[in-house]
Amino acid sequence: MGSQGGFYQSKEFLDLVKSIGEARSKAEEDRIVLSEIETLKRRISEPDIPKRKMKEYIIRLVYVEMLGHDASFGYIHAVKMTHDDSLLVKRTGYLAVTLFLNEDHDLIILIVNTIQKDLKSDNYLVVCAALNVVCKLINEETIPAMLPQVVELLVHPKEAVRKKAIMALHRFYHKSPSSVSHLVSNFRKVHIMWLHLFQRLCDNDPGVMGATLCPLFDLITKDVNSYKDLVISFVSILKQVAERRLPKAYDYHQMPAPFIQIKLLKILALLGSGDKQASEDMYTVVGDIFRKCDSSSNIGNAVLYECICCVSSIYPNPKLLESAADVISRFLKSDSHNLKYMGIDALSRLIKISPEIAEQHQLAVIDCLEDPDDTLKRKTFELLYKMTKSTNVEVIVDRMIDYMIRINDNHYKTEIASRCVELAEQFAPSNQWFIQTMNKVFEHAGDLVNIKVAHNLMRLIAEGFGEDDDTADSQLRSSAVESYLRILGEPKLPSVFLRVICWVLGEYGTADGKFSASYITGKLCDVAEAYSNDETVKAYAVTALMKIYAFEIASGKKVDMLPECQTLMEELLASHSTDLQQRAYELQVVIGLDAHAVDCIMPSDASCEDIEVDKGLSFLDGYIQESIEKGAQPYIPESERSGILNISNFRNQDHNEASSHSLRFEAYELPKPTMQSRIPPASLASTELVPVPEPMYPRESYQTPVPSVSLDAGSSELKLRLDGVQKKWGRPTYSPATSTSNSTLQKTVNGITQVDGASTSNSRTRETYDSRKPQIEISPEKQKLAASLFGGSSKTEKRPAAVHKISKASSHVMEKSHVPKYSMEVASEKTASVQQPPDLLDLGEPTVTSTSPLVDPFKQLEGLLDTTQVASAVNHGSIAAIESPDMMTLYADTPAAIRNSDLLSGLSNPSIINMPGDTTTTQPMQSSKGPNLKDSLERDALVRQMGVTPSSQNPNLFKDLLG
């Protein structure tokens, strides 16, 4: 039989392939393929085509589709072919449908029956072909139709069929775990059956046993604990495989069944993870494999690598770790890039268990970092990322940024940028360094990093080192301002970075008196001009301008706007963006105010202060009274309105019906959109900014039942929403909307501040300012934690990191808890708006968190502090608790923060972790922070002096990197 026996093609096909192969351009190829499609379309619909010819057409169609052209006209013919009795034709049909169709294709229904029939066929090749299709084309709905037959095939006399049946069941499991859940025990049974057979007679098809390992691996991945009893049997199989008790046919390159060994090792790694007893059962066999494995062949190394993965996953055993380390060093020393790659990967696994192992391989690691092979380089960065600690973070992050600048692959750039940020946030030795690093990341990958990172950076600059260290704070800020002014000279900065720059310049540009207001405003105008199609940046720039001018006015200086600034304002006042327009108008108003007013509106350096919002809008009471006297409609809350409706509108007998749709049977009084009727006239009269026309028609006209769902959806619109706000008018018999969630409350607050007449600019900007407060607390705390916890001991490096994260999370929880706490304490009359506007900080939905999770992280944290520190922390804590009322009065003195005593007492209560809680944790850190910062700065300078350049083989580099 010739080499192509049974797989003949016609001359036409050969010609087609040849001409496509010779096509000079994509266009030429397309032309050839399109004419082929035309030919096929014509031929395929001819009557009485010989089967063989049909088969060839279908193969040609498959080929055409592989080249990226649509061959859907032929799908039905492929389906027809599957019905044929001839194996050749049937197989071709099956091949074509597996390549053409997907599991949800309409035509599948036409082959289900055929598959069912074929699964029962006497000819095992037909069964195999059918199983192949089953794997690819059976979806969740058709699984039940196939399942019984596939299960029957598990005991088919032919081993190939058994194997494929197992694989098909595995596939079912993938697609719909529930459909085969009752079979899970079958897998076990099958497995154990093969295990027994296998143990008795080694020649009884280990291939099938190997096949069962695939689904078992998946099952065990999902649920380790219910398979622990199989450890012994897996170990014994592995042992027998490794001892060459399998037939020679399973050898591959002199290795006994390596693929089975690999699967088994993977399974053992899962089962032994964190289980000392199970792991102990595995030690001997894994050790044996380490010894026996032939490290000269590729597949031998694959098994060795799998052994290392297993060793690093199971309960550690010193002897095995040693062998693993040996293999790793062999891999790393090898000339093959593949082995180096595997070595680096294995090293990053093992480093979790024995960090000191990296030291022996520092040279090899550096080599891999310098390697021209991108894959290897990336893998090495992954390793470095895993071994980062506070002592080497600077070197590693520098390297990462260097690499990040050089690559173009956006996906990887994003990843490495986020890793830089993560490491910098976690291990930053100093804020200065952090800001520098962030600047670099933003400059080169700005649009790829998460916006939250930008907010963190702003927060860090705003919060600085801590309250007690004002000089350092201002130094930090002025260095930030300087660096930003320098960076602004560069073309094409990413939008996110520009926002940070604008914010910082607005907030601190003139703070140290080094730069004049006109210089900073000039720069800001340049930004707005240069990036004129980025509205967000423009908005940030305008707000920054407003701040600069406000600070100038407040300090009693005379302000004259630069001409370019005036042109910018004129442009923005006519902008299409309402946001920009509003900001411009606000700026105009602020400039016209006197120094005292401006100082109240925009106090200097107040971005970290809290803001009070009069949620009840009590200042509008007089106005409302007046309006009502003039004959305006009193406000009726949403909930009451729909209640009235349900009672009054008796034509809608069914309440549910009434609330589910709004079909009306009487004539419409006025052609007004029904949605508008949600806003009651009284409230409308009081709001000038809401662009909703006044519905003056009688109450019956707004009978449209508004389901509560649409209520919530509507809350994002710029409309006055007053549910949840204490009622100032309306019928007292109705209770306020109790179902309103906390989130709507918050939104209402925002909504109100936007509408609130005279003080619009005031509260809006205050809000953008002050709402940053909640997250700001994280960063210095984190820094302090970093400073005190990552003292540089190499062994515990990962643990503190985890703690760190916990503390981060806990501070989040804390901040979130501010919201409900305030609103509880202040008895819903006055609530501090801790919620931030969506464009600045994204904390997610404010959720009411119970106080219990607040305590835990700190306890954990304290447990990890040194005992002395804990003691001091406790001391400090008590002091802080005593001191806290003072601090709170200070707080209360700030112009906007009008708190009642309720709030105060609530806050000063040390049992609630709030301000006192903060101080408890931060105090000890602060004491140790000073020198540490200095240290790290010095180290930074030293490292730079040493010249950490990528090419130099500087021993100091290794010390920093690996020591």
């Binding site: 049974g6 093609q9 001359k11 197989r91 091949l95 090749l125 690819k136 046919a249 694959a302 996906h411």
Partner: protein, 166 residues
């Protein structure tokens, strides 16, 4: 599991593409193009592995091997071992070689359905089924024998002899 097997030539023309999870034709083409763009940029004597997450989504690895004018590319997830997959490519190529006696690009082009048959015997539903090229050969030969037999019964080819390349 194995997500995809591709064979393409050094000009980027796909010679075989098999995706074990359904993807629309356009998406397949795009993936092939992107893989080729990465492959042709790689030097000789570097590793056979590529970070494929930017192309194939999370948890995907890519191993390729370059033979004469062809790239053999396997894409898979973390449940496989890179070095082992490299050997799987070897098995596939060895089998092709045995089948076609010194396999070359043209053999793959002209024996499209046979290549699929061979691949189906090695990888089944995304899992490694068989790693011995001798076993694969046996299975494939059995199929072609039976196909030929069934063919002979059902067809009375008049001009078929011209098509046969025996």
């Amino acid at each position: 599991m194995i997500k995809a097997v591709m064979v393409m030539n050094t000009q980027g023309k796909p010679r075989l593409a098999k995706f074990y999870e359904y993807l629309p034709v356009e998406k397949q083409q795009e993936l092939i193009r992107r893989v080729f763009a990465v492959l042709c940029g790689r030097a000789e004597n570097v590793s056979n592995f590529i970070e494929a997450e930017s192309i194939f989504g999370p948890d995907s690895r890519l191993v390729y091997k370059h033979f004469a004018t062809l790239y053999f590319v396997f894409v898979f997830d973390s449940s496989e071992n890179e070095l082992a997959v490299l050997d799987l490519i070897q098995v596939f190529v060895e089998t092709l070689d045995k089948c076609f006696k010194n396999v070359c690009e043209l053999d793959i082009v002209f024996n499209y359905s046979k290549i699929h048959t061979i691949l189906d015997e090695i990888i089944f539903g995304g899992q490694v089924l068989e790693t011995s090229s001798a076993e694969v050969m046996k299975a494939v030969e059995e199929i072609s024998k039976l196909e030929a037999a069934s063919n002979a019964i059902t067809l009375i080819p008049k001009s078929a002899s011209g098509w046969r390349s025996r």
